[in-house]
Symmetry: C2
Subunit: 205 residues, 2 copies
């Protein structure tokens, strides 16, 4: 349907709101709004009220910049976490992914993006200065673990942070690159395969 | 991510609301909410307020049951439309599709669904009685045009309405079945192909 004739201006306005979301076209938006119209009024009101609260009540942790309901997020406030290691990630989805592995017990630092000259994102647009401050002002940080994507932007960001942290006597680590578990060797790209050979580990069973 | 650790209860609540929508999983819902968090507060508030208004302010036309901003929809109120013909459709998306063709200038009647014993939808759940009332009480209706899907449920619904309208001296028509324009003959199913042979039309160019 290229030319849309909405029978109601409010219907069209609601479709417009949904169609602004990434990956949602006007046809899908209409389907979602018609679905909501069939739901109980209280459910749709709950949805609307959640959106009204979203921007006002979401906090960003003043330590790590993770999304939080409070000034300091639950991870930074957890006295059981290892405060000697800070994992640097691009965004909060990465925090969630790493938390889901249950393999990491340190703290985080959310950059809020990566350096991307193409998109006009420079170091000053990211939480890099606050990371350096955290390292210089808080005592006891022994390791900065850079968990950024293995892309050109990710590597650029990692190198920039690495240079900034060079003056501090602190270990700087990055996530292991290698063949994903379950993947066949012959389908691995040669750079990954090469790295996985250079960084081969002791066989355990 | 099978096990999700949300850093904020409000973030999780908003993800839950989006994930209730048909075809939107938790991963997509999270992506949409993180997108909204990056938008201006006024935009997200506008979205929320639209949802709050939706269920309260949307009307259903008391004539044809189409969605409307007023008691009588703009199509029923349009004195330029042909009042002798009523097109019966399943839902408002069908009204929009037919309006987009700009080939139909009559009125509509929106059933609000089709008869489906599998889903427990019977004739009394639909706006069928109100259609019969419209035909019997309004003078001058000469044709009921059944534009229902060519499925078992659509055919059942059409037959039910056909029987109910039999006592009235009124033409009952249905949409033409045939090979879609641009489709190759060899890929058409044989029932459609058969119908398109029986109902062949005069060649025009």
């Amino acid at each position: 349907m290229s030319f849309q004739t909405y029978p109601s201006a409010l219907l069209e306005a609601t479709v417009n709101e949904f169609a602004k979301l990434p990956g949602i076209g006007r046809k899908t938006a209409l389907r979602l709004v018609l679905y909501l119209l069939r739901q109980p009024t209280s459910d749709v009101e709950k949805f609307g009220n959640t959106l009204l609260r979203l921007k006002h009540e979401i906090h960003y942790c003043k330590e790590c910049h993770n999304i939080s309901d409070t000034d300091v997020c639950s991870i930074c406030a957890d006295r059981g976490r290892d405060r000697a290691i800070i994992c640097v990630v691009e965004n909060i989805k990465d925090v969630m992914s790493i938390e889901n592995t249950q393999q990491y017990k340190g703290l985080y630092h959310v950059l809020g993006g990566i350096i991307s000259p193409m998109e006009g994102i420079g170091p000053s647009d990211l939480e890099i200065e606050s990371l350096i401050e955290r390292v210089s002002q808080k005592g006891g940080i022994q390791e900065i673990f850079l968990a950024l994507s293995p892309t050109m932007e990710g590597d650029t960001t990692a190198y920039y942070i690495y240079r900034k942290l060079a003056p501090f006597s602190i270990a700087i680590t990055t996530i292991a690159r290698g063949i994903a578990i379950g993947n066949e060797l012959e389908y691995a790209d040669e750079i990954t395969l090469g790295r996985s050979i250079v960084n081969r580990t002791v066989f355990t069973y």
